[in-house]
């Protein structure tokens, strides 16, 4: 199917009221991303995000504590095995805070990726019954883990106080790195959610992919372990730049430098191509899902 819907929403004044005219017709090729329409549907996006957040810890005994438990115990395990036993260097920073500061953006990314990948298939029942810009689904999948992130971040602040790290002026870059983590997860999520509609194989690929990706990212080790020419290539992993940047803003490790430049370029490429691929595939979602 190489057709898509072309929507031109004209406004015409009729009896004092504005009546939108929607033209539904087949068209082939790539569709532009309709930011105006996304903006018009911002309330629904908010609703989806709130739903995902509300549903997350319903009927759990520990509730939002789960947001902390997961990264915290990962940190404990990493500290024991990688920090104490394997003695992986951590740029002179206590290993617990070294790994926890990396686990935060990593968990934000991994949660967003897995939620957005399943977002389209998981909402098939709504998608086959009502129209809305399908892009809202992966976007809400990526944004909703921010709540968990915020809760886990409070623990990080406590750890920083305990280990005696005080934020420097670098901290103003923190929001930028959070945005980059969201953008990486949305970019990959757009590709995978659209592919998952057609091929359910991706449902099984993603958990596996996330596990491998974790060790391919500088979570348990610093990227400074790699010699310089390879560090540039390492930046092809978008999370490499994001995690190193995160540590730099909070703990004052070595700045990510060239790594972040490569990562930003890769993130933008994945995000833009993912958005266009998603738009191209979305017109057949309701028929295929």
């Amino acid at each position: 199917m190489k057709n898509r819907m072309n929507l031109s929403t004209n406004r015409r004044s009729d009896m004092g009221e504005e009546i939108p005219i929607i033209v539904i017709k087949p068209m082939s090729g790539w569709a532009p991303i309709d930011l105006k329409e996304l903006w018009a549907y911002r309330e629904l996006l908010q609703t989806f995000i709130m739903r995902d957040i509300n549903v997350r810890y319903k009927q759990t005994a520990l509730g939002a504590a789960w947001a902390v438990i997961q990264p915290f115990f990962m940190m404990v395990v990493f500290t024991l095995f990688f920090g104490k036993l394997a003695k992986i260097p951590s740029e002179g920073i206590p290993y617990p805070i070294f790994s926890y500061a990396a686990l935060l953006p990593w968990t934000l990314f991994a949660e967003g990726l897995s939620r957005s990948t399943n977002s389209v298939v998981g909402n098939a029942n709504i998608m086959t019954k009502v129209y809305f810009p399908r892009l809202l689904l992966p976007i809400s999948g990526v944004v909703s883990p921010l709540v968990d992130f915020a809760i886990a971040f409070v623990i990080l602040l406590g750890m920083m106080l305990y280990f005696g790290f005080y934020p420097t002026e670098n901290i103003i870059w923190l929001p930028a790195f959070i945005l980059l983590a969201l953008a990486s997860s949305l970019g990959a999520g757009l590709w995978l959610s659209a592919l998952n509609v057609q091929y359910r194989d991706f449902q099984y690929t993603v958990p596996f992919l996330i596990q491998i990706w974790l060790f391919a990212s500088p979570v348990v080790y610093p990227s400074s372990l790699l010699p310089e020419p390879y560090r540039m290539i390492y930046g092809l992993n978008p999370m490499a730049g994001v995690i190193e940047g995160f540590r730099w803003t909070l703990l004052g490790t070595s700045p990510p430098g060239s790594l972040i430049v490569v990562s930003v370029v890769v993130i933008l490429a994945i995000l833009v191509s993912g958005a266009f691929y998603f738009r191209r595939m979305e017109k057949t979602f309701a028929d295929v899902v």
Binding site: M1, P26, R51, Q59
Partner: protein, 429 residues
């Protein structure tokens, strides 16, 4: 420029690849297809046979054109698979057409099921906002109408209870209450009235006519001819994806009903099912007379037998199989329900053949339709097929005395019940 057009549809068509709706495509299939593709293309070039190529596609909708004025209520009728649902899906922008255009003047709302977007873990209050906003309402609109919605649904005390704890009746009431307060300029309604009890259906019908009285445009798809007749001024009859007739509701209904759709044995694989088919898939229906001969003509007060082949897909707790006998206008007359008659239990995956026997069918002479369903007791239909087939009932010896039942049947009576008569007082003059 003033225009009164609400919807203009021109040469609308939708083509599906056969098998496109099949679930669980795998990457492997795609890869093998891609590998095969160049060879197929070469084969196509060599044979250059267009017709051959077309065989793997079906047109669910083809060359459909019509106009609907603002404020009109238009019914869309047709047999299963005639393209009604496809038309609604295109107009509500869920899927895109393969050819043709549709122009829609105004905000459009679609009601293709009851409870769109409901999340079982959320409370009634949360779901009102969730479903309302998915259906296209703004937050302030929902806030304005919140009290009305709660009142309409009659669930005040359970507002802060998770919807999964609701009875199915409460669930449907709340879901419809939200949908009924949707107030777009154009409303598309599909078969939602098929759920719930008679009183609730009446409430729904009332709400739809309220909406149309407010000058809203409504497109209404239904198998219930009474409802279409009652609500719609005009109707469109679709047949195999094409528009067959368009005109006054009564006219179109008569054309539709004059078609002979009776078949004693129906292969259900070929007609569209509603429901999720998570547990059960209805395969085949056969109608038989008392001698176990397939037939579509039954004699009053003689036996009516139906055999239903069903495939159980996964363990099905408290399975309930049912058959509805409705008048030709779609009003349900009898529900033949397995669990009511004591056939209850769980089904394991596999094929089953059920037989239901009515020892004496007490319908008046006329044409009746059959719907089939399968569900887990207390839940919504898991598989449901409307208008599977039709059958005729002819006059028989009902009372042992001569009757004029066939004449009375013409006036619209449908069910016979026996009565005994005697004179208890007589005064001579």
């Amino acid at each position: 420029m003033k225009t009164d057009i609400a919807i203009r549809v021109e040469n609308l068509g939708k083509r599906y690849r056969i098998g496109q709706c099949e679930r669980h495509d795998t990457l492997r299939d795609a890869i093998t297809d891609k590998i095969k593709a160049p060879f197929c293309r070469i084969k196509d070039c060599l044979s250059s046979n267009e017709g051959n190529h077309d065989q793997s596609y079906i047109w669910a909708l083809k060359d459909v054109s019509f106009e609907i004025q603002q404020g009109e209520v238009v019914g869309v009728i047709g047999r299963n698979g005639s393209g009604k649902s496809t038309l609604l899906k295109i107009l509500s922008r869920i899927t895109i057409p393969t050819e043709g255009t549709a122009e829609i003047h105004g905000r459009i709302g679609s009601l293709l099921e009851v409870g769109t977007g409901f999340h079982p873990e959320l409370t009634g209050r949360e779901n009102i906002f969730l479903s309302g906003s998915i259906l296209g309402m703004k937050k302030y609109e929902i806030e304005d109408k919140f009290d009305d919605i709660v009142k309409f649904s009659e669930i005040e005390t359970f507002l802060d209870t998770a919807v999964k704890r609701y009875s199915s009746g409460m669930y449907v009431r709340l879901a419809f209450a939200v949908a009924a307060h949707l107030d777009p300029e154009i409303l598309l309604v599909d078969e939602v009235l098929a759920v719930g009890d008679a009183a609730f259906q009446k409430k729904c019908m009332g709400k739809i006519s309220d909406i149309s009285e407010k000058g809203r445009t409504v497109i209404f798809v239904s198998h219930n001819m009474n409802a279409v007749h009652e609500l719609c001024q005009r109707a469109i009859l679709l047949d195999k994806g094409r528009k067959r007739v368009e005109g006054s509701a009564l006219e179109v209904i008569n054309v539709y009903l004059s078609k002979d759709n009776s078949r004693s044995s129906v292969d259900l694989d070929k007609i569209p099912h509603k429901g999720k088919q998570k547990y059960a898939f209805l395969r085949k229906l056969t109608l038989l007379n008392g001698d176990h001969r397939p037939t579509t003509v039954f004699v009053m007060k003689k036996a009516f037998i139906a055999q239903i082949e069903l495939e159980c897909i996964q363990h099905m707790r408290d399975a309930e199989i049912g058959l509805t006998i409705s008048s030709r206008y779609g009003t349900a007359i009898h529900y033949l329900t397995s669990t009511w008659e004591g056939l209850r239990g769980d089904l394991e995956p596999g094929r089953y053949n059920f037989e239901v026997r009515v020892p004496e069918i007490l319908l008046f002479p006329g044409k009746y339709q059959v719907d089939l369903w399968a569900l887990r007791e207390g839940e919504d239909s898991d598989d449901i097929i409307y208008e599977v087939t039709y059958f005729d009932v002819v006059k028989g010896d009902v009372t042992g005395f001569p009757t004029t039942i066939d004449k009375y049947a013409l006036s619209g009576c449908e069910v016979y019940t026996s009565s005994s008569w005697r004179i208890i007082e007589q005064k001579a003059q």
